[in-house]
């Protein structure tokens, strides 16, 4: 049977020999990481931040032409770009910059802008536009073109193969729902990611938990993934909803089993612990079902999913790479880096820098005041509400007594922004925040709302309608 021999793991699920090897390597690497926790200690007062932004190219070309052009653009800018799952996607990254150093903020902004404009110049040279949007509205949601790399074949295929055939994968609040039942749909999604260096593993865990609470507030006014296949899903930011639904392989009761005798037999031997206690029946995407107790707990959760890819030397890195939570911690050399992943790519860099500063300020406030965390069930509601309705529905906030209170989203957000400004002030960064950009973001609605306002009178959207509207709103740049 060789490498593919099936064995049984302690939870009763079937595990391949390769998965077993990966798990053993993962456990070993986690043990080493936790044993060398001191190397992650940072004693200086720096605030090192790096950015990653995903964009996509667009032209009325064939899939293969788009891939060629995408690869050519990356070749032009190979020092700071990379491919992503989507065959037309490009990731731009900056180095980490200490925002508290002299000119730290302007340095980060300058590098980020420069790199984006370098990519834009290349795109112009190759006759394509750049999409700055959370969901590419031009490509199909089923059989979305992927980058030709083994991991981009194996991982989505795994989820497509193991998804419950009865799972409802139609999404949208509009007249016509859209099928997102292909894990390759992630090829359509672009996000803006803020990477913060933590000063210890404990700090990383604390930052992660607090970021999970903060992220929905950011999303509520920055949704930018509403249209799929040129259709209005009427969801402010469908990115993570699509990702989660297309990657949901959980079954609470196996609906594939039609024989009741087998069902009853299995149930009578079902000794799985209740979910939560040991990260059972979790979804890899989005929000964990509870906060992380410590870094070991986070890593334990990360290792509770199938590895899918086989490379024992990189077991830990693979597992973190496949941790598609709203916030995750990754490890690079002696740095523990907390990555915020929930916001979609924004139409402009200025808007992204505002989001980044609000996030940093709000997180700093939360840590310096040791703020209570909202119950995770409430965060789950906030997150989903922000994704679907943006600021249109009430959200939960903490009142002065640290108790959850539900308020009109705009009203509650005022206090959140005050807290963020307090944090920025404390860091000496408040002057970096462009208030007029923030006010515009709040007053004119999220990018999704702005796009919908332009497109809504039209019933059947053509590619030209979409191109024109995106260009007008700077979401498509030529």
């Amino acid at each position: 049977m060789g490498l593919f021999r099936q064995i049984y793991c302690k939870r009763g699920a079937i595990m391949s020999k390769q998965e077993k090897e990966m798990r053993e390597s993962f456990d070993f690497q986690v043990k080493n990481l936790l044993a060398s926790r001191d190397k992650f200690l940072k004693k200086d007062d720096s605030l090192r931040v790096g950015l990653e932004s995903e964009i996509a190219i667009h032209a009325r070309s064939s899939d293969s032409e788009l891939v060629q052009k995408r690869d050519a653009i990356i070749a032009d800018n190979s020092d700071f770009t990379d491919v992503e799952l989507g065959a037309s996607q490009i990731e731009i990254r900056t180095p980490p910059i200490d925002l508290l150093s002299t000119n730290g903020m302007s340095s980060l902004t300058g590098i980020y802008k420069q790199r984006f404009f370098n990519v834009l110049d290349s795109a112009r040279k190759h006759g394509v536009g750049i999409l700055r949007i959370g969901a590419n509205p031009f490509l199909p949601t089923i059989k979305t073109p992927r980058t030709d790399k083994p991991k981009y074949r194996l991982v989505p295929d795994f989820y497509n193969r193991n998804r419950d055939p009865y799972l409802d994968t139609m999404i949208g609040l509009g007249k016509n729902q859209i099928n997102i039942g292909d894990a390759a749909i992630v090829s359509l999604f672009q996000s803006f990611q803020v990477n913060l260096e933590a000063n210890s593993l404990a700090d990383a865990c604390d930052k992660m938990n607090r970021s999970l609470v903060i992220a929905p507030y950011l999303l509520a006014f920055s949704g930018n993934a509403r249209y799929l296949r040129c259709q209005d899903a009427k969801i402010q930011d469908a990115r993570m909803i699509g990702w989660a639904a297309s990657h949901d392989i959980r079954t609470f009761c196996d609906t594939k089993l039609q024989d009741l005798r087998i069902l009853s037999w299995e149930k009578s031997f079902d000794v799985r612990p209740k979910r939560n206690k040991d990260w059972q029946n979790e979804l890899r995407v989005g929000l964990p079902s509870r906060y992380f107790r410590d870094m070991a707990d986070y890593l334990h959760r990360a290792g509770s999913f199938p590895f899918i890819l086989y490379d024992p030397q990189s077991a830990l890195a693979i597992s973190i790479g496949l941790t598609w939570l709203d916030t995750r911690t990754k490890f690079i050399d002696d740095s523990a880096i907390v990555e915020l992943r929930l916001p979609s790519t924004q139409p402009t860099i200025k808007e992204e820098m505002v989001l980044m500063l609000i996030y940093i300020g709000r997180l700093h406030y939360s840590q310096m005041t040791n703020e209570a965390l909202l119950p995770i069930n409430i965060v789950q509601e906030n997150r989903l509400s922000a994704m679907i309705y943006g600021l249109e529905r009430p959200l939960w906030f903490l009142n002065k007594n640290d108790l959850p209170v539900k308020l009109p989203a705009k009203e509650g957000l005022i206090t959140e922004l005050e807290k963020a400004l307090f944090g920025l002030n404390h860091l000496g960064l408040s002057s970096c925040l462009e208030r007029e950009i923030l006010d515009a973001m709040l007053n004119f609605g999220s990018p999704s709302s702005r796009l919908a306002a332009l497109l809504n009178p039209k019933d059947n959207l053509s590619i030209s309608d979409m191109e024109d509207a995106l260009s007008e709103l700077k979401m498509l740049v030529y």
Binding site: G172, R275, N281, E381
Partner: protein, 246 residues
């Protein structure tokens, strides 16, 4: 069309624009959260409903139970959000009263059998034997409503679902079938409801799959769960069966 039948149909509010939409009703027990009585069932539905003051919440026959409902939606995420909204608001209201909401499929025999002070329920309680009253008070469930256009559509959807009754019962069971056993005790004519029992009031039809007065086909066999995603799994499965008719 015969006048009696017309009169019977007039009791159903079919809304063609809601065909295929899903609504969820979720019954939960009120439990004392702490102190000397911690863990006891609390006959405090009236207080809870005054505290929450929301049209999405209502009472049940047992004063220890409350029920939340969602608006109808097609999108699973929108359904999930409404269930979460109810759950979180319900938990906050219960917390203020020193209570908590619990998903218990079958309550213990020593729970109080206080009936909610509603005329219809008080009348029912007067007329049924104690074992049926106790059975009715001890069970909670999750009801899935599927919007249908009209009576013909309702029958079509109903007929697609009925052959799958056993698998639905099994999927939604967390009490080793005890809930459904009690349900049988409560609704004597559980397998085939006799027409004369609900002709005047369709709410008196206690079949596990029934056409409801709200213009929906309602599935009542699913038990209760802490996990909202499990409810969505039931919805997905049910919808996959009636997909062709929606």
């Amino acid at each position: 069309m015969n006048e009696n039948f017309k009169d019977f149909l007039s009791k159903f509010s079919f809304r063609p624009e809601m065909a295929g939409f899903i609504g969820i009703e979720r019954e939960q027990f009120l439990i004392v959260a702490g102190g000397l009585d911690g863990g006891q069932y609390a006959s405090r539905a009236q207080g809870f409903l005054s505290m929450i003051n929301s049209s999405k919440w209502t009472y049940e026959l047992s004063a220890c139970q409350v029920e939340s409902r969602t608006n109808p939606h097609k999108d699973l995420s929108a359904i999930k959000l409404e269930i979460l909204e109810n759950e979180n608001c319900g938990n906050q209201a219960a917390f203020k009263l020193g209570l908590r909401l619990d998903n218990i499929e079958v309550a213990s025999r020593n729970m109080p059998f206080t009936v909610y002070p509603d005329f219809r329920y008080l009348e029912i309680a007067k007329t049924i034997p104690q074992d049926r009253l106790e059975a009715a008070c001890r069970v909670t469930g999750t009801h899935i409503h599927i919007g249908v256009r009209d009576i013909s559509h309702a029958i079509e959807v109903n007929n697609l679902l009925v052959p799958h009754l056993n698998i639905f019962c099994s999927l939604g069971d967390h009490s080793n079938s005890e809930r459904l056993r009690l349900y049988r005790t409560m609704a004597k004519n559980f397998e085939v409801a006799r027409a004369e029992e609900f002709a005047d009031n369709p709410r008196n039809c206690w079949k596990l799959i029934r056409i409801s007065i709200h213009g929906t086909v309602e599935l009542r066999m699913f038990g209760v769960t802490d996990n909202v995603d499990e409810i969505l799994e039931w919805v997905s499965f049910v919808r996959s069966i009636v997909k062709g008719a929606l």
